[in-house]
Structure formats: C-alpha cells, structure tokens
Amino acid sequence: MDPIAETPLHLNSYRTGPDDSGHFGLYGGRFVAETLMPLILELEAAYEAAKVDPSFHAELADLNAHYAGRPSPLYFAERLTQHLGGAKVYFKREELNHTGSHKVNNCLGQILLAKRMGKKRIIAETGAGQHGVATATVAARFGLPCVIYMGATDIERQKPNVFRMRLLGAEVRPVISGTGTLKDAMNEALRDWVSNVEDTFYIIGTVAGPHPYPAMVRDFQAVIGQETREQMLAAEGRLPDTLVAAIGGGSNAMGIFHPFLDDASVKMFGVEAGGKGLDVPNGHCASLNGGRPGVLHGNRTYLLQDGDGQILEGHSISAGLDYPGIGPEHSWLRDTGRVTYVSATDREALDAFQLCTRIEGIIPALEPAHALAYVTKLAPTLPPDNLLVMNMSGRGDKDIFAVAAHLGMDI
C-alpha cells in the first residue's frame, strides 16, 4: 500500500471528519480492548450531548476568559520579520496562557466533561510535562484527585514541571517500562483506566487515541485558530496566507489549522521533530515523514515502527514531540495534501530557540522552536505581503536546563 497521494484531493470540505465510526479516511477509529469499549462509547455520548448544550459552552468560555486568560494575543514579531527579510511574521501567543502552553484549552474542556459525567478521579499522561501541569492545574481548580503518568526519562529532563505538578497536588507516577517516554506513559494511563473504569476520567493531551478523543481535543483546541482568524482580520483586514506549527501528537497544530482548512488560500505547514536527522535510524520523531500507517493507542495513524510492526522510540531534544505516533486527522490531511509536513532537527530548533530569545525577548518552548526553525527557512522565500502566523504553543522556562546542557553551559 502506498498511501502517499501525489495529487491533492479537491474536497468540498476538509472539516467534516470524523465519520460516525471515528474515521478520517483510513485513519482514526477505536482500536481498544473490550474493557474500554463501553467507556469510550459513554464518553462519546457525553461529549455529543455537551457539544449542543449552550451552558457547557458558556462555562468553558467563562473559564477560558477569566482563568486561562484568553484570548491569547496575536503578536507581530517585527524584529524577527526584519531579521528574516520576507514574510510578515506573527506569533499566536499560546505561551501566555495560564500554565504556559496551549494544553490548558483542552484540559478545561475535558474536566468540565468529567464533571458532567460525575467522574471522581483524573488521570493523564505527559511527555514534556506541559499537559501534566495543565491537567494537575484543572484538577486542583475542580478539587479532583489526579494521577499523572510520566516516563522516568522525561521526569529527569523536565524536573521543573514535575515539581509544579506535585505542588498542584497531583501524584506523578514514574513509568519505567519501555524506555520511559511518552508512549510508555500513555500505555500506563490506559492500564490505569482499564483497572479503574467506574470513577476515572482519562484526559488525553493530544489529538490522538480512540475516537472521540482526536475530534474532541481538536474542538477544544480550535479556539486557537478561531481567535487567529478574528485577530488577523482585525489587524490586516484579511486572512493569513501561511500557518506554521510544531507537531508531536499534533494538538496545537490542529487547533490553529482546523478553522482554516476550507480557506484554500491559506497554506499550512506542520513541523515534525527531525531529531538527529531523518536519515538516522530511530533518530527522529517524524511519524509522517519517516513512518508508515499502523495501529497504536486506539487509532490507526502514521507510526514510527520496524518491519515487524514493533513501535520505535524515536528521538527528539523536545520531550513534548517525542512520540512515535501522530493524531489521525493529521495523517489524513497529509495523504490528501491539504497540509504540508516538514521537519526540523534538534540543532535547528536550538538555534531558533536562541534567535527568538535574543531578538524577540520571548523564550519559546523547544516544541514551537521547531516550528520557528522552519519559519526561519520559509519566511525569507516569501514576499513581504505574505502574512505568516506561527503558533507559539508554549514557553521555554521548563527547557532552560536541557538547553543549557546541550549548549555545554553549567547553570
């Protein structure tokens, strides 16, 4: 099977998925053990009911405004624009949200759903710790006990976030199975859920997992793109021409892309973690550019895997991008050709991290630093009237120790 579509499809709409069985074309679905199936169906019914309940949206909008600090600004990065000499570069400032990343958008939506469903206990997986912090935060806000599964390797490289989660009252359970990264944390969270089906709500942090998670997380993150649309119309009187976002599981990218998918003039670029380079075996986390379709964690999607279908660990300097899969809707958007998926290496991300810090006074997380690395290549090739928006999905305070180590500095 060669799923690569050489010619983009021309669909009437790219925003109608998933279908009733949770599929985006070939991708998505509900590949879970029978124990979880009734829970997934219950969650889907609860989400469908919440979606059409104005009081649910009103409560979420109120929390977004007064608790998370939305809308996040759309900022014209003037010095970066001058430095790159091409497209007019804007940042969507998701790093200014409460908890320091876009992750809170999804967590607020899901915890309101947990409350509606009468669940008493929250679990989540985390890689970089941003989703763990956002989950621990909303659990504290709503007074629910919270367990965060985090790979032992990630705990080591994201200590500030681990401490933050513990301060917020969450129990952080180290995961030592596999190589102790995000995929292993997700396995453990699924095991917890299977073992505690009665009272537990699993807040998945990205647009992956069994249906309805990919669509639900997308809907909660779509506020990023909806705001971008209004803000750009207000600032420039027209839509942006180019969107760029980093991709791990793909939630921040889906959040900014989705509201624009049917605007044919808007070009979109998802930037995967190129690690040590796409030509280095198991040296990157670029599922779309270096993987192939498979089934993991409840959905069919592009995966990093060997010839026998065993999942590879991959590598990225960024713990938040260190995941061997990707949201199924991204897999579909790749095959249809609507979104272009590229990659940036560890080195390029580190360079972009420093560039942004020095000339914009913004310390980006290593995840959006990958998007920025691609912007530094793309923007100079575009005309000055090209409006480019990069999703600044998180702030880099959590990464300063890891960056210092890579730069050979002792802090």
Binding site: E34, T35, M37, P38, N196
Partner: protein, 272 residues
C-alpha cells in the same frame, strides 16, 4: 472437525474443563520457547494460547510486557512465531493453538498474508485484543473465511446490549476476562465470575473460558467449577522470568519449571 471444537467436545463428554495455557512466543529465546511449547500438552494444556510479542501491550500487566520484550530482544518476530507453530505441528496434530496479541504486527504483515500463513501453519484461532467488533470487516471476517476461529474477550464492563455485538462472529470459545484491569494483577471474585459466565452462556452455545488473575490450583479449581475452561498466563510467564540467570538468559531449569507449574495448576481439572 476443528481442533478447538473437538477438544471442548471431548472434554465435555468426560465432564472435564479445559486448561488453557498462555506463553509468549520466543520468551526467553526461540529454542527454549519451542521446548516449552512442545511440552505443554503432556504437562496438562488442553488449549495453547501463544502470544505474538508486541512492544506496547496496553492491556497486559508488567509480567507479560516483560515477556514480550524478552522475546523481541531475543530476535522474535511474526515470521518466527508462525515457524514455531509449524514446528509444533510436526509432532502434534491435536492440541489447538490460538495466537494472541495486538493488531499492529498483523496489520503491517499485512492481514491477508498473515491469515493465509497462520492457517497454513496450523493455527486454530486468533485473539486480537485491540480489534473490537466494530472493526470486524478488516480482520475477523477474513480470518473466519480462512477457517480460523476468532475468539473475543468479554469483560465485566460488557453489558447485555454490547454482549450481542461481541458474540457476533465470535467462534471457538469465548474468553471472559475476570477482572477490570490488566493481566496478572488481581485475583478474580468467584461469585461475580459465576454470574457473568452464566450471563454469557445464556446468549451463546460456545464454551466460556475464564482468565486474568488465576495463579493457584485452588483458583483454577474454583474457576473451573463455574466455567468451561481456565486460562493461566502470568503465572507461567513469571515462572520463566524467575528461572533466568542474572543476564536474563534461559537456564536448564527454565522449561522444566514452567511445565511443572502447568502440571500443578492443571491437576485439579484432570481429577474431575
């Protein structure tokens, strides 16, 4: 007649229950694993579940995940697992083998060749944990067409409404998971098991085997009193783990200690 149907029919005629054993193919290495596999029927196994190793077994506990990783580190892959079944069939034509695992290694094999080769190798059925009835078209139905049984897991969370969907297309036997949880972690509650097995048997003529959490001859005996078969997995896999040397390699005790546990746990079912 299919091997699975034949075994359950013969056991029923003798008023005995099936002892179903699970081991992971290639654990701890291909040669030792084949030695264990070949010894299982004589030690008391009526049906063999052979695990297809997977790097990310989400529904299994730590014992079976470690078994998968030991097998993968020793070079096991799907081709070798199918070759193991062929080797077993050279000397055993009667004991049913059910391959158990996760979808991805089958999906990439891909499905069509996997089913054809499994049937040819002498596999009798499949248990694929993460393919629900909603996805029957892509794996279950082609497997049934090739003459393989497709054995579905039912769980304490499978309500009456859902049970219908789960039992459709299920064949060979029904595997009742006795706990909500992963393999090998909790002991099942007999009363609840009895109630749920009765609920399933009211809806199907297929035999019902019960697993997840059976570790002692007493548990095996009590589960057998309310079901048609008892599945033991983590207890065997743990025995393999305990028999290894400090570098994780098989010792001369590995195969014999596993088979001794099979004899001990199956004894109560043979006495009936």
């Amino acid at each position: 007649m299919h091997r699975l149907a034949k075994v359950f029919e013969e056991l029923a005629a003798q008023d005995r229950k099936a002892f179903v054993t699970f081991i992971t193919a290639g654990d701890p290495d291909p040669a030792t694993s084949l030695e264990i596999l070949k010894g299982l029927p004589a030690a008391g196994a009526d049906v063999i579940e052979l695990g297809m190793p997977f790097s990310d077994p989400m529904a299994d506990g730590p014992a079976i995940q470690r078994a998968s990783l030991r097998a993968l580190h020793a070079g096991q892959d799907m081709h070798k697992t199918l070759a193991m079944v062929r080797a077993f069939r050279e000397t055993n034509e009667t004991t049913p083998i059910v391959l158990m695992g996760y979808y991805n290694p089958i999906y990439v094999y891909p499905v069509e060749s996997f089913i054809a080769e499994a049937a040819e190798a002498g596999v009798d059925g499949l248990i694929v944990v993460d393919v629900p009835p909603e996805a029957d078209d892509e794996l279950c139905v082609p497997a049934l067409k090739a003459g393989l049984s497709f054995i579905r897991l039912t769980t304490p969370t499978t309500d009456d409404h859902r049970l219908g969907a789960v039992l459709t297309n299920t064949s060979g036997f029904v595997y009742y998971v006795s706990i909500t949880g992963v393999t090998g972690t909790r002991a099942p509650d007999l009363e609840a098991v009895a109630k749920n097995v009765a609920r399933i048997k009211a809806r199907t003529a297929l035999p019902v085997a019960v697993g997840f959490g059976v570790r002692t001859p007493e548990q095996a005996r009590s589960i057998a009193s309310v079901a048609d078969g008892v599945v033991v997995g983590s207890a065997l896999v743990d025995t393999i783990a305990q028999s290894l040397d400090d570098k994780g390699r098989a010792t001369e005790l590995t195969a014999s200690s596993v088979l001794a546990v099979v004899e001990k746990l199956s004894a109560p079912l043979k006495a009936a």
